[in-house]
Amino acid sequence: MPLVKGNTVVADEFVHLAEDAPLPADGAVLLSAERFLKDPEAALARNGKENVKTGVIWPNNRDVDDLLPYLDRLAVIALVFPIFRDGRAYSQARLLRERHAFKGELRATGQVLRDQFMFMLRAGFDAFEVKKDKDAQVFADVAHRFSVFYQPTGDGRVTAFHRRLMHLPESVKS
């Protein structure tokens, strides 16, 4: 599955670690939520080093609050779209980015199609495990299809409300 980051297809340095595979001393890994929570310290501080790249695949029916103690040390949180229509991870993404100020990579996984890129970007995702190669190739074009946005989200885009207000006479503003 191609990974898109920064508008371009990149190689995924993170290895999805199987449940029974041993934790490598080095290297970037993605762990299941269950495995990660069993022993977070073992995953986050491997081989005595503090900054080993560790990510967690977080299911969409589990409260993201359980991750709060580890947010500043996690390199990646991968949220899951089991089917196109299941939008729980959009809420999780906004909570992680906007309420809990998660600064690492927020990755969309599962049924990730081009038709969701705009929603995902606005919700705070910055990496996409895209289902179809062609969708990954056209990522940049599709991501810029819309140029006006109504809602304020953590992506910082200026909303239509505010663009209009910038043109208002002072009398209305005050």
Partner: protein, 551 residues
């Protein structure tokens, strides 16, 4: 009227261009029908029994003459010359070819209308009182808030893939014409003891398989907090609403299963963490939206002009005037309802010619503005009373002056088995038969206000639960049967109807309805007692006896 600006138009155009690409990918086989389904639904495109159906949003039911002409143009160019106005301030076309859908949407985009979010598991077209801004005694024009909600909900990055569809309705009048108690979120604008304007928020109402009347979650949410408050509700719903069973996925089930107290607690905990964030509305933002609504420059006119007095001597005009004209906040003006319920016609249908003519008449007599109500009728909201006789003659000529508004033949009906792939039974022919049975205006006037609602299946698009008389089509051993309920209503005293008895076959429905109406005429305390009030006083029993005694 609210006029879309360059930013609103840009979003609509960009959406059409995205959909054009999606249709092309479907036609080339790049997308399977299954993949395409969610995408087309979010643009109002259904696959029905015979063809694709296109549903177009008419936000809060307000249309300009120019927009109405564009609707007529689409009916004529891409469809079979007519459209169907629905119970949700939408219009549907039934026969547009998939390959032509992007062109039809592109033509509509030129006048700022679209099919966005008229379907799919997102926040649907926001509906409002169709007399908003003109009804006397309104706290304020609820469309300002419907428009704020429309913008807030359009292509919402968090709530475009909810567990199920999500419907908002809003009113600012004491008399609820927007049926807010049977919506996922109903908003009632009112003033608190301090004289501040805010919202009573109701949640978890809805019809369908499991009907509920909405419950008040908060008596008063202030203006600056309304968007954050509804976002808190939606976020709780998005995370905890059921997704394992589509019949249990609506917010009404979540509210019911948690109980309103627990649900409120969840919402308010969420709200506490975000209410002062980016969604807190500034006065300038509200004023900006308010300033984009244009209101007619009314003249100072007589409230009882000679033209009207003279015309009222004509019994035909008088009959129409009596039930089609409503008081206006401006003296000398009236709100005129156009009946899309001619005797023998399918409720809510309008031809391209009628639409064009109505657009012209709106320009001539109603400052170029038209309204669409959930009863599947249209209205001209600003007509000078002195113009009523001339307007009536013109409306009569095109068949939209049937004097039956709010009477027994002003029937709400879904398209039923004739068009809809979900339906189990026909709705339109039942409505047509009933309009013929009650075609005599004297009988209809004797009966008084009586709402009949017909749905062809349990999904309740015809809102049968809240009809004074509700008719629900069901299928039994391959045959159409109809369950009949009485005592429902969709106004500020919203209630669900009660079953009268066993379902009856198709060919007995009209007889049964006649029996129920006759029983009412015999049982009412006085002519002013409405059917629905008589049912409330008497219960179902006397009606049941009358219907089943001889069957």
């Amino acid at each position: 009227m609210y006029a879309y600006d360059e930013l609103d138009r840009t979003i609509v155009n960009e959406r059409v261009s995205e959909f054009r690409d999606q249709v092309a990918r479907r036609l080339s086989g790049e997308l399977t029908e299954d993949e395409f389904k969610s995408l087309r639904l979010m643009n109002g495109v259904y696959l029905q029994l015979h063809a694709y159906m296109l549903r177009i949003a008419i936000p809060y039911g307000t249309l300009s003459s120019k927009q109405m002409r564009a609707l007529a143009h689409v009916a004529r160019k891409y469809d079979r010359g007519y459209g169907h106005f629905t119970t949700r301030q939408n219009i549907q076309y039934n026969w547009i070819k998939l390959a032509e859908l992007p062109d039809a949407l592109s033509d509509l985009a030129e006048v700022g209308i679209h099919g966005m979010q008229t379907s799919g598991n997102c926040i649907r077209n926001v509906t409002a009182d169709q007399w908003a801004g003109v009804a006397p005694g309104e706290v304020e024009d609820p469309r300002i808030w419907a428009e704020i909600l429309r913008q807030y909900s359009t292509l919402h990055p968090e709530f475009s893939f909810l567990p199920r569809k999500f419907k908002f309705a809003i009113t600012a009048s004491e008399h609820d014409r927007a049926a807010i108690k049977v919506h996922d979120i109903g908003l009632r604008i009112h003033k608190n003891a301090q004289g501040e304007t805010g919202f009573e928020v109701l949640v978890g109402g809805g019809l369908g398989r499991t009907p509920f009347i909405g419950k008040t979650i908060n008596e008063f949410v202030g203006q600056r907090d309304i968007l954050s408050y509804v976002e808190a509700i939606l976020r709780v719903y998005n995370q905890y609403g059921r997704r394992d069973n589509i019949y249990k996925a609506r917010i009404k089930i979540l509210v019911h299963e948690l109980g309103i107290e627990k649900f409120k607690q969840e919402v308010e905990e969420e709200w506490a963490q975000m209410r002062d964030g980016a969604l807190a509305l500034q006065d300038a933002e509200i004023e900006d939206i308010r300033s984009r609504f244009f209101y007619p420059k009314y003249d100072n006119l007589s409230d009882t002009p000679d033209e009207l007095k003279k015309a009222l001597q004509n019994p035909n005009f008088e009959a129409w005037y009596k039930n089609s004209i409503a008081p206006h906040k401006q003296p000398g003006y009236a709100i005129v309802t156009l009946s899309l319920k001619p005797v023998g016609g399918p409720p809510g249908d309008a031809t391209a010619e009628q639409m064009d003519e109505i657009a012209d008449l709106a320009e001539k007599y109603s400052f170029g503005e038209i309204r669409v109500g959930h009863e599947q009728n249209l209205a001209l909201p600003h007509v000078a009373k002195r113009d009523l006789p001339a307007l009536w003659r013109a409306l009569d000529k095109i068949g939209v002056a049937t004097p039956n508004v709010n009477l027994v033949s002003d029937i709400i009906a879904c398209p039923g088995l004739d068009y809809c792939s979900l339906a189990n039974a026909r709705s339109i022919p039942i409505a047509q038969e009933l309009t013929r049975r009650f075609a005599n205006p004297d009988t209809a006037n004797l009966i008084g206000r009586l709402h009949i609602n017909i749905s062809g299946c349990i999904n309740a698009c015809g809102h049968h639960h809240v009809g004074h008389i509700g008719i629900l089509g069901v299928e039994k051993n391959g045959e159409e049967f109809y369950q009949i309920t009485i005592g429902g209503r969709a106004d500020e005293n919203a209630a669900l109807g009660h079953l009268v008895g066993p379902a009856v076959p198709y060919d007995q429905v009209a007889d049964v309805i006649e029996d129920i109406v006759e029983a009412y005429l015999a049982l009412r305390q006085r002519p002013q007692e409405l059917f629905v009030d008589a049912v409330k006083r008497l219960g179902v029993e006397p009606f049941k006896e009358r219907v089943y005694a001889t069957r």
